[in-house]
Amino acid sequence: MARTRRTPLAALAAATAVALTALTGCGAADMTRQASPYADAKGSRTVTLSVQSWVGAQANVAVAQYLLEHELGYRVDTVQIDEVPAWDALSQGRVDAILEDWGHPEQEKRYVEDKATIARGGDLGVTGHIGWFVPTYFAEEHPDVTDWKNLNKYADQFRTAESGGKGQLLDGSPSYVTNDKALVKNLDLDYQVVFAGSEAAQITQIRQFAKEKKPFLSYWYKPQWLFEKVPMTEVKLPAYEEGCDADPQKVACAYPHTPLQKFLNARFASRGGDAAAFLKKFRWTTEMQNDVALMIAEEKLSPQEAAGRWAKENEATWRSWLPS
């Protein structure tokens, strides 16, 4: 019985395969050139930008999108993706550009140097820095907390139900670069790293702490709009030196200052016309990015409204980005 039944199934499978090939014109399919089905719905030129989950990245994309649409006549699609998958998407041409990269040496080697499917797009103009922060209201009361050597003294005050008997070091999204677990161990700190699991959760928790003026210690990064709402002071870790974070097990130093980078899909970089030229020239300052980020996160403007308002007030800045 079973044997006779398998025949129609096999036939069906074969027919599907034939139909598949026929439908798509027999040839080889190019996995590197596939656009979104929603793109170009009205026959316009489209640029696809990847957005990372933090508001700073949203701000870059919002302004780029606004100018591409209003000044250069493109249609812009945005896709929200985590950092590492974004590299992958960039190499395949699913997105055309990443506007804010915090340093992924492994991906850079693979895609920029070995495969040459991704091209460098230059500095964003913003320098990023990761660190440990305590709220300024707490740092003012206890100035010595800002040195890592005194952290153990305050472990009790940073304790939460989640961290058990130790102090809580609040960490964020799994997509972030972090050595915190190793740091706590190697610096011999009486702390427990608690992963908030997403940036949204971490921000929400920080704001709840701040509302009650509670002490907390958190992994956080600059530039970030939250500093305007919850002033925070950095805790000094052993100074960063080139290569001190090379071995993830032995790392015992602070995080570096990273000039944030732009990356473009290689094909887009060479044939992307005005859009590619514009994105390469896009370069602004931390303050500018924060202005836009705050409008999005605090005033709850849509990214496009925020970008529009910024563009109106800063024409001198963005004029120079436009291809002449």
Binding site: R5, Q34, S36, Q80, E83, V194, A200, T204, K300
Partner: protein, 663 residues
């Protein structure tokens, strides 16, 4: 509403697996088990006591585990290096990907061409033809709200993606179900495959799918199909297997060939199951709409996800509501279609459809001529601000310092300290063999040797995968969440069964809880309970509660009226009736509720990882975020194993099933 029980993403156990009549061997087996039970418990207790005398570490021994990061890392490198050149991609996967893109685009363009007026009219008319005037008005209102919230275009994108994903799921599920329905061997082979497809957390297979297809719509559609096809397959198989033997026999005696029997007797007889399968596939696919946004599916899910990045609950809700509305409309229309099968006289319905088609075309044309294709900008309603204000107020007033009862943060703290911590530490402190032993004994008491073996092997697999500790952490959270869910769910369910008014009032609330994308309540739970395992438990409870309430209410309500009447005539009070008649008689339903609670709670473990639940949920998210196939897949596999363990330990009805199958 008919579909009340079904919109829950059905677990392997709700979607009815065939429950054949108890085989002859079962009676003996059951008697054996019952007598064996106490003996086993006694032995286990003694063994545990003896073993605890020389307590070692609780950890799974490193020598017994396998590190998969090497091979899985190689696999992902291979895909990345060969994606652009290997024939497998050039001549097969690439085409699959292209077909998906072309189909989604085609549907999307049609929807855009119809314009908002055309789409809304079409939806209302289809609902009218299939399910009557009331549902027509509901769908009219639903689509209007999508537009009003300023979500028209994302709604159409999601709809286009859904149409293609559901069509593919129904096709694939139908074929698998056909195979399983016709061949016993296929049925046996497919069951564990379908179980795994449903229990494996979507996050775990998003990464492999992304590696192969890249970010975007093709990957999203395929991930959705993996998730949405199993119920279709199960129900198709069920329909074919349950087809009235008499009719099939008659067809055979008339000399029908196998194919003729299938097409003229078995498939038509299975129509109801097939439609229920379609309904279930739709609901599952919508459940994936938001998760798929993590890999660039676009549409409503992407709006929810982006709103979260700026911690904007209001905006997330504005994009979440259309998802709920789509789910409600699609669910009720397909459910009504299933019920109405065979009711409508064929002649009239053809005319009705023609009228509907003409009306839609006319409206679409009118829209096109008057250049009103896209939703008018002025006709939108901003709900984000009031919602955010409400959330702010809630968290500001409930978080802490509420007199007498304490704030939610205090509850969360106490819950963590007094329930979650002891539970986790206890489980992790137990020696690994004691855990295996306990699970084996529990499964044996409730099921058979076979279920016990499955449970123990699944738990051991977790150890072998090298995630013993995080798995026990996750287990402790699941157990705590299930306990809370059952406590609340039974109470609400019983209350709803006894008071019709409460039942009616609860229904829409449960609908919303069940279909609202979980990402929407990620921020509120953190705002109320802080970061950690407590909000993870809260999110799980919110998600699993509706199913438990519904199954309980239905079970209690379905208790034989005669039994209730006779107890009343004997002078039983309401309380006595409840505890001595209704609850005992509703036992099977309550057990099903327990099982559903477990399965659904487990489905939210990954969301728990996003709010600080840590453990396996965090690993699954980490795997996707860092492109780390090993971490993500191993965590996913461990969650599947936990699911197996918990299912086997909470599903006594399985015994008949297994025994019956053996017989």
């Amino acid at each position: 509403m008919t579909a009340t029980v079904t919109p829950a993403p059905p677990s392997p156990t709700t979607t009815p697996g065939p429950t054949p009549p108890t085989g002859t061997g079962t009676g003996v087996l059951r008697a054996l088990t019952r007598h064996r039970g106490r003996l086993v418990v006694a032995c286990a207790a003694v063994a545990l006591f003896l073993c605890s005398l020389f307590l070692g570490t609780g950890d799974w021994p490193a020598s017994l585990s396998v590190d998969l990061s090497g091979p899985l890392g190689h696999a992902s490198d291979w895909i990345i290096d060969n994606r652009d050149g290997h024939p497998l991609f050039l001549y097969f996967l690439g085409h699959v990907s292209n077909i998906v893109v072309v189909s989604v685009r085609a549907v999307y363009l049609v929807l855009l061409a119809l314009g908002w007026a055309g789409v809304t009219t079409a939806a209302a008319l289809v609902a009218w033809r299939v399910a009557g005037v009331r549902l027509a008005l509901t769908s009219l209102a639903a689509f209007a709200v999508c537009g009003l919230l300023g979500m028209w275009v994302p709604t159409m994108q999601t709809l286009a993606l859904m149409v293609v994903a559901v069509a593919a799921s129904v096709l694939l599920g139908g074929l698998l179900g056909l195979a399983a329905g016709l061949s016993d061997r296929m049925h046996r082979i497919l069951r564990p495959v379908l179980d795994t497809m449903q229990v494996l957390p979507a996050f775990a297979y998003l990464l492999p799918v992304v590696l192969v297809f890249g970010i975007g719509v093709p990957a999203a559609v395929l991930a959705t199909v993996v998730y949405a096809a199993p119920p279709m397959a199960r129900l198709t198989a069920l329909g074919l297997r349950d087809a009235d033997a008499g009719v099939v026999e008659a067809a055979t005696s008339l000399g029908a060939t196998g194919r003729q029997r299938l097409l003229t007797a078995r498939l038509p007889l299975a129509r109801k199951e097939l439609l229920l399968g379609v309904n279930q596939s739709i609901m599952m696919a919508l459940g994936m709409a938001v998760i798929a946004s993590v890999i660039g599916a676009g549409g409503l899910g992407d709006r929810v996800y982006q709103a979260l990045a700026s911690v904007d609950v209001g905006a997330a809700l504005a994009a979440g509501v259309p998802i709920v509305l789509l789910a409600v409309v699609l669910d009720r229309v397909t459910a009504a279609a299933g019920e109405r099968i065979g009711e409508t006289p064929a002649g009239r319905s053809g005319l009705g459809w023609a009228v509907a088609a003409v009306a839609t075309a006319a409206v679409a044309l009118a829209g096109r001529l008057s250049d009103r294709l896209s939703w008018p900008d002025g006709w939108t309603l901003d709900i984000a601000e009031p919602v955010n204000k409400a959330v702010d107020w809630m968290t500001a007033h409930l978080y802490s310092g509420v007199p007498v009862v304490g704030g939610t943060a205090d509850w969360a703290g106490r819950f963590t300290t007094w329930v979650l911590n002891p539970l986790r530490d206890g489980l992790q402190w137990l020696p690994w063999w004691a855990v295996l032993l306990t699970i084996g004994v529990l499964a044996l008491l409730i099921g058979t040797w076979r279920t016990a073996a499955t449970a123990v092997l699944a738990m051991a697999a977790i150890g072998v995968l090298g995630v013993w500790d995080p798995a026990l952490d996750t287990l402790s959270q699941v157990l705590a969440a299930v306990a809370v869910t059952l406590l609340l769910g039974f109470a609400l369910g019983v209350a709803a069964a006894r008071s019709t008014r409460l039942g009616h009032a609860l229904r829409p609330v449960l609908d919303v809880f069940q279909t609202m994308p979980q990402f929407v309540y990620l921020i509120p739970v953190v705002a109320l309970f802080g970061v950690g395992r407590a909000p993870a438990v809260a999110a799980a409870v919110v998600y699993a509660l509706p199913a438990v309430v519904r199954i309980t209410a239905q079970g209690v309500r379905a208790v034989d009226a005669a039994a209730l009447e006779s107890s009343r005539s004997m002078g039983a009070t309401g309380r006595q009736q409840l505890f001595q008649v209704q609850l005992p008689l509703a036992r099977p339903a309550l057990l099903l509720a327990v099982n559903q609670g477990v399965v659904l709670v487990l489905a939210v473990v990954v969301i728990g990882g996003l709010v600080g639940g840590g453990a396996l949920g965090y690993d699954a998210v980490f795997g996707l975020a860092q492109g780390d196939l090993a971490t993500g897949l191993v965590a996913g596999a461990a969650i599947v194993c936990l699911g197996l363990v918990l299912d086997r330990v909470t599903q006594p009805t399985r015994r008949h099933d297994l025994a019956g199958k053996g017989a």
